[in-house]
């Protein structure tokens, strides 16, 4: 999708010029995130939920837990499914219909962070090996698009997972009976995504919509709780130099630590 033509050239120039002087149109520093507001447990019907506001960007995540069959190659592990919906009310650019490539990419990048950091201990989600396991459905619901959906969604997903409770059960004669009470979903890592936009030759953290519209490319680094990189994704039509990528990795490490304090309380 080229959206660059919707931003006036003079504004594009202004944004790039400001950034080359270390400033941004919304008065943030190059490595500053917008304010993060987080609420958890906002949907009572869902097993877990969270709503994140990153500046004006707004993403809700609902977690539903169902009992289903495991994959045959990992018979004793629960299943993680991440899906993203760019809800038409969130932007004039979003249209109803099946997920397009942007929604699929968003879901898969968030999925990769959770999966590769092994954030959910999926062995604990096995009920009857080879037959029954818990399936964790993570639905990313974009409610307002003002840029950087990846980081907002990843934060909301983690917050929702940390807030998720699974119903208790017992097995009687090979049948699963639901018991009263809930158990916390076992979360053992806290992946945080940090996205950079490349505008001219500079990187800015957490691009808002106008910056996304004028950027050459974006680069997302997901950092686990040990400060290691667990996922990367490049998007957009531009390219990067090696030096910029390594520089970004170090900034991401630091930013992830700051954001983690907001998402993971206590």
């Amino acid at each position: 999708m080229t959206s660059s033509i919707t931003v006036a050239r003079v504004k594009q120039k202004r944004i790039a010029e400001l950034i080359s002087h270390g400033k941004r149109l919304d008065e943030r520093g190059l490595n500053d995130f917008r304010e993060v507001q987080l609420e958890v447990g906002v949907i009572e019907r869902a097993e877990g939920s969270a709503r994140v506001r990153l500046g004006k960007t707004e993403v809700m995540v609902g977690i539903k837990i169902e009992i289903g069959e495991p994959f045959s190659d990992v018979p004793n592990q629960g299943v993680l499914t991440v899906n993203a919906e760019l809800v038409p009310l969130a932007s004039p650019k979003f249209e109803p219909g099946p997920p397009n490539e942007n929604a699929i990419e968003l879901a898969r990048v968030v999925d990769r962070g959770i999966r590769e950091s092994k954030a959910i201990s999926t062995e604990k989600l096995c009920i009857i090996p080879g037959k029954k396991v818990f399936i964790v459905f993570v639905d990313l619901w974009v409610l307002n698009h003002d840029g950087n959906l990846i980081d907002a969604s990843a934060m909301a997903a983690l917050a929702a997972l940390l807030n998720t409770k699974i119903f208790n059960y017992e097995i009687k004669d090979d049948e699963i009976k639901i018991k009263p009470g809930y158990t916390q979903l076992p979360i053992v890592d806290h992946p945080i995504a940090v996205t950079f936009a490349k505008i001219d030759d500079n990187f800015v953290v957490d691009p808002w919509l106008v910056e996304e519209q004028v950027m050459d490319a974006r680069f997302t680094i997901t950092i686990d709780k040990d400060g290691k990189i667990c996922a990367l994704q490049k998007g957009g039509y531009g390219y990067f130099s090696m030096e910029k990528i390594l520089e970004a990795a170090k900034i991401a490490q630091q930013k992830a630590e700051e954001l983690r304090k907001i998402v993971v309380k206590g």
Binding site: T2, I5, D73, V74, P99, E101, I104, E105, A107, R108, R112, R115, E116, S117, A217, F219, D224, G227, K228, I229, C230, A231, L232, Q233, K234, G235, G236, Y237, G238, Y239, F240, S241, M242, I245, L246, A249, K250, Q253
Partner: protein
């Protein structure tokens, strides 16, 4: 994680397919293999067998998708149902849709798209057999198909993955190393410009390991770049021979 093999790298630091850590799989490239396409190429990289074809620049339908200032790149990465162990449904999966997108974004920086406003350049990548690293082989072969179609380009795009297997950093992971290893980092590079046009990663790397893996993948891309150039030249050498015989 399932472990079908105790070790992916033995005590002589040799990998399951006999390679050293910094060694590419055997690569065979042919340019101009399909007669209907404006440009085409075929690659075998280990057990990967991939065809790429380019049609265009051509008129774009539906017209409202046309861009007033440049060509629209359309890319379809697709796997044949018989390309993997368990039959894959021929309908495009979410994985294929994402890979089509990142490949398009990896190739677009190399093309002078502004030369062909309001047109489309269609790139089709068909994976006939897959053995890990198909997005990289796909980019390598599609870039050659673009060159074969005579489309002006800044540079060829060369792609190669590096990653971590059994705690060691290795180049050009095959399927089992990708699935059972600790990290996989596909990289696409325009080697003459030192410009990275695709970077992805899944796994677990410290910042230090990340830097080393990135450098390893970059060296792989450079080796592949040399093979790409040879394959392009070989096509024209063959054409020259035919012409001179007449």
């Amino acid at each position: 994680m399932r472990k079908t093999h105790e070790k992916l790298i033995n005590e002589n630091s040799t990998r399951l397919d006999g390679r050293k850590s910094n060694q590419l799989r055997p690569i065979k490239i042919e340019v101009g293999t399909l007669s209907n396409a404006d440009g085409s190429a075929y690659i075998e990289q280990g057990k990967n067998k991939i065809l790429a074809a380019v049609y265009g620049p051509k008129e774009l339908h539906p017209k409202h998708r046309a861009l007033p200032d440049r060509a629209l790149l359309i890319c379809r990465y697709h796997m044949a149902p018989f390309s993997v162990q368990e039959r894959k449904s021929p309908a495009p999966s979410r994985r294929e849709i994402e890979i089509s997108k990142v490949i398009r974004e990896a190739l677009e920086p190399s093309v002078f798209v502004e030369y062909y406003p309001r047109t489309s350049i269609d790139i089709f990548i068909e994976v006939l057999q897959a053995d890990g690293g198909t997005r990289c082989s796909g980019i390598t072969v599609a870039s050659l198909a673009l060159a074969d179609a005579g489309i002006p380009m800044h540079d060829l795009v060369s792609a190669c993955a590096a990653g971590k297997v059994d705690g060691q950093l290795v180049l050009d992971l095959n399927d089992i190393e990708d699935k059972e290893g600790e990290a996989d980092l596909p990289l696409a590079l325009m080697p003459n410009l030192n410009a990275i046009t695709l970077i992805q990663m899944d796994g677990d790397l410290s910042i230090n390991e990340f830097e080393q893996t990135l450098n390893l993948a970059k060296e792989g891309c450079k080796q592949i770049h040399a093979l790409q150039k040879d394959a392009l030249k070989a096509k024209y050498a063959a054409v020259k021979e035919v012409v001179e015989e007449k």
